[in-house]
């Protein structure tokens, strides 16, 4: 039987590989949409690669999370690094869904407006950055070192908000979604 640890390695490689490809494609899409480096003719190609890779990474991510929890010693999130991993991966998840929903709604039109193209490429790359930091924290947790250790990121500090503030943020987010939906309907 394949252990949860092995499954975690497989699913993590799938997710991180897909996100890494998406990151490069978002960078190229940003360049192409601005017409830099004579890349405008490649915009359609890198736009599709970026969003499909991001969507694939998003599908692979829950497998990585579940197998990670299964293979982790102890019971659940009881270490600052694990809690920060959870925060970063959920942020990446939310940002990725936002990027994909925007692309789905506006089609290739996201690249037509100056700020639209900037936010789309930066949003995609920020998602990839968050996922790569999350993966790096996994290396620090399991092996005590990772490639991003040179930046001395504060993995041990947990920025935990009070419950009421989290609830308020959720309420504002949901209200915003409803308003966006209503504006679209009208």
């Amino acid at each position: 039987m394949v252990s949860a640890g092995t499954l975690h390695v497989i699913s993590t490689e799938l997710a991180v590989g897909a996100f890494a490809m998406a990151g490069v494609a978002f960078l190229l899409a940003g360049l192409a949409s601005h017409g830099w480096l004579s890349m405008r003719r490649h915009l359609t190609l890198v736009d599709h690669v970026a969003h499909f890779a991001l969507a694939f990474g998003l599908v692979a991510m829950p497998f990585a999370i579940v197998t990670g929890i299964q293979s982790s010693p102890g019971s659940g999130v009881d270490h600052p690094i694990l809690i920060n991993k959870m925060f970063l991966s959920s942020s990446a998840f939310g940002l990725a869904i936002g990027v994909l929903l925007t692309r789905r709604r506006h089609g290739q039109g996201v690249w037509s407006q100056p700020w639209g193209r900037r936010w789309q490429s930066l949003g995609g790359m920020a998602t990839v950055g968050l996922v790569l930091i999350t993966a790096s924290m996994g290396g620090t947790y399991s092996r005590g070192e990772s490639l991003l250790d040179v930046f001395n990121l504060p993995y041990e500090q947990v920025p935990l908000m009070p419950m009421w503030l989290s609830g308020l943020v959720m309420a504002v987010a949901v209200a915003n979604m409803v308003m966006m939906r209503q504006q679209r309907m009208t």
Partner: protein, 323 residues
Amino acid sequence: MRRVITLLLVATLLLASTIGSANPNGVGEGTFDAQCGGACHGDADMNRTSASTVMVSGPATAYAGLPTSVDVTVSNIETTVSGLLGIFLLSDLSGAGDTPEDDGWDIVSNSEGGSLNYVEVLISPGQKEHTVSWTLRAPEIGTYDLHAAIHHGTQDGSGAPFFGSSIQPMEVGVVPVPENLPRLAASFEPPVVRAVGEATSVQLITEAVDSMEVEWRVSGGPVQTTTVERVDQGTWTFDLPASLQPVTVEWRAHLRGDGPDQPTPWFALQSEDPSLSVDRTAAYVQSLAMLLMFMVAFMSLQRRAGLETEATKEDAFSMEVER
């Protein structure tokens, strides 16, 4: 849409396989009956006999209410894919009500840094023998049996789990405490855990003791002595140095008085990284809040960027999502 349903179905099945895969990474230390009370490996059709040998050893006599030490040695250990070996200390092998506590024993500590009857140890590849020591406070006067059992997996991770037990139990005769026996007081509770980087001052409460000497060692390391200070007639203190990483420090006292000299068993003191006390519910709620916040913030940002176009029916990405 059909594609999405298929994807969700496959995803659910794949996730179910990991959730339903028993506990390949162990269950951690705990208080368990033999074969965990039959919860997982109890059915004879679902396990095989381990080739390892399990032996329980220790003094044949213990004094009622005083600590004594029991060693469980597992030899001819089989290499497994995870390296995990679960070791039980038991009062019988029936699988129900057979922990040492059920016979009146009180587990003070074990050499793996815990104070429970089941431990999981990580065996290095090629390691053939491992010993776990338990320090227990003896029950009422009488004769008691102590058994040991193990369970583990296989080298390739396939097949049934393996179970093994001690061929014969260790018989312990618990006798009354002689009046003048130098001993630790029944009320003495040794510390079993401390934080890394924190020195420990241990206060010993004794009876019929005139002098003592304390030895300590890092598990498996050389034995060193430490200075003991007498606070009053039956109270003594000594310091154990701070550890720089999570290790088990063991200590014991040689008690002297009018009666025969009496060494205590080795007491284990586990140093651990300072534990994190976080409200998990708050962490999960914040996680969800961050997910929603990042999603909505990005979509709002893009709306303010003046995006007005809608996806065309020919757009490849939207077509794939719609299907």
